[in-house]
Symmetry: C2
Subunit: 287 residues, 2 copies
């Protein structure tokens, strides 16, 4: 496995692989790789000849009071994990390589990025859309694998690929969870033992929403209210939101459709923000 | 020569040419091709195996009170001109192909696009950067040829290519002028005979600025004042601006450097806006 540091090296490698007729997949990450990331890399491995994992903690998607400096960066073990999961290349540029002096061009989403994470974290999705566009253009993949865990990011990336004519297939991998249901996240490491125990309410709230929808509940307000009730049992420091949205536009729904509604939530324990989401269906799926 | 209408067809053609090891050049235009465009296509022809001319009147770069509807669209003769100049492919998508229902992702420049055309035409460079990114991603070129005529657009595109990691070489072709010095532009067709005669002051103002700089004038204010004086002799309906700027950042200069300053101006005759620009050097170039 190779670790590449510059955009030029990465593009040269990608062009060479593409020229040889090989199919490239990219898995963009901020490092601190856990089993969720491993599942993305493994999916990429089955679908492509060459798997590129990018590791870049993107300053542009962190707000001024967020956890940029304390975000975990276990680089050597990340490289080992990426390799073991099937990566051929780790692309790990420096912040200066990605945002050189005089950087002035950004990619913005004006719809799916507006609410929820976009409202809670001003500038976040501008940073996300910009780095994703840059990583796509640096790695030149046929396929990109993202996790469903960051559902609004998925909506923004899907729009980005379509709107900017990125010739890239998007594969969205299901959320990987701990045995008690907590969605895997690099930020889970911030939780105290007590917070970790209480954080199970996210999964409880979502599965309750799923059960209600499957039982025929059509009112998104009723489902949202029930989610808030369950979340509060975990005594979180703040519930940023709990809602039922259209997964493409991230517009909040009033009525839960037969299929394709998404329950989303963001909750704080101490200074740690946890996100999670789950699809709702009026009829319980067989899976 | 082939005319392609869809992004998918264009990408397929580009991938096929790239896969065969051929070098692609793109010349983005809004049609209404004149000798200036021909010079761009001819440059592309000498530098690439496959030349793609794009013809798309981009609604997103016109303001609400601008000339979108009356902008000339002589499509059949444009295709003939592009072919005669050496194009292999004309890529001419419809507005619906480029901006489908639900379009929501834009590319924005936050520095070079701020002043001058950016200030006179709010949203213009957002439209330019977005369509240029889209056309680059649709046509997948190794080389892109733009005209120096739209100097601020060149600065925005140069930043776009660098900032978003577009693996594209940029070639900027010199301005093509009428015998009396008027820069070729599709909008010159709007000028009445009287306006056309008076419009020669743009070239006069710029060559005067060049002469003053070459003679040692270091004050941009003095040069600007002289440009305004000459422009007024043409009794324009409005002088939007005349200035000396850094050609990369489009920040106005106070002192004219030894090399690399750009005199720019925008002037209206009736409802027709004319742009022009010229490099200034303290020592007259040999060319």
């Amino acid at each position: 496995m190779r670790t590449l540091r510059t955009i030029a090296e990465m593009q040269l490698a990608a062009e060479s692989e593409r020229g040889a007729g090989r199919r490239l997949a990219v898995v963009p990450t901020m490092g601190a790789l856990h089993r969720g990331h491993v599942s993305l890399i493994e999916r990429a491995r089955t679908a492509a000849d060459v798997v590129v994992t990018t590791i870049f903690v993107n300053p542009a998607q962190f707000g001024p009071n967020e956890d940029l400096t304390r975000y975990p960066r276990p680089f050597d073990s990340d490289v080992a994990v990426a390799g073991a999961a099937g990566s051929d290349i780790v692309f790990a540029p420096s912040p200066e390589e990605i945002y050189p002096e005089g950087f002035q061009t950004f990619v913005v989403n004006e719809r799916a990025a507006s609410g929820f994470e976009g409202a809670e974290r001003p500038g976040h999705f501008r940073g996300v859309a910009t780095i994703v566009a840059k990583l796509f253009l640096a790695t030149k993949p046929h396929l990109a694998v993202f996790g469903q865990k960051d559902a609004q990011q998925v909506a923004v990336v899907k729009a980005l690929i379509r709107d900017l004519n990125m010739d890239i297939e998007l594969d969205v991998a299901p959320i990987v969870r701990e045995p008690d249901g907590l969605a895997l996240s690099s930020r889970n490491a911030y939780l105290s033992a007590d917070e970790r125990a209480r954080s199970v309410v996210l999964y409880k709230a979502l599965t309750d929403a799923q059960r209600r929808a499957a039982a025929g509940e059509r009112s998104a307000t009723a489902i949202r209210r029930a989610m808030y009730g369950i979340l509060k049992e975990g005594r979180p420091d703040r519930i940023d939101y709990a809602a039922v949205v259209d997964p493409g536009s991230f517009v909040e729904l009033e009525d839960v459709p037969l299929t394709g509604a998404l329950a989303i939530l963001a909750v704080r324990f101490g200074s740690t923000r946890l996100l999670d989401n789950m699809y709702l269906e009026q009829r319980k799926s067989e899976a």
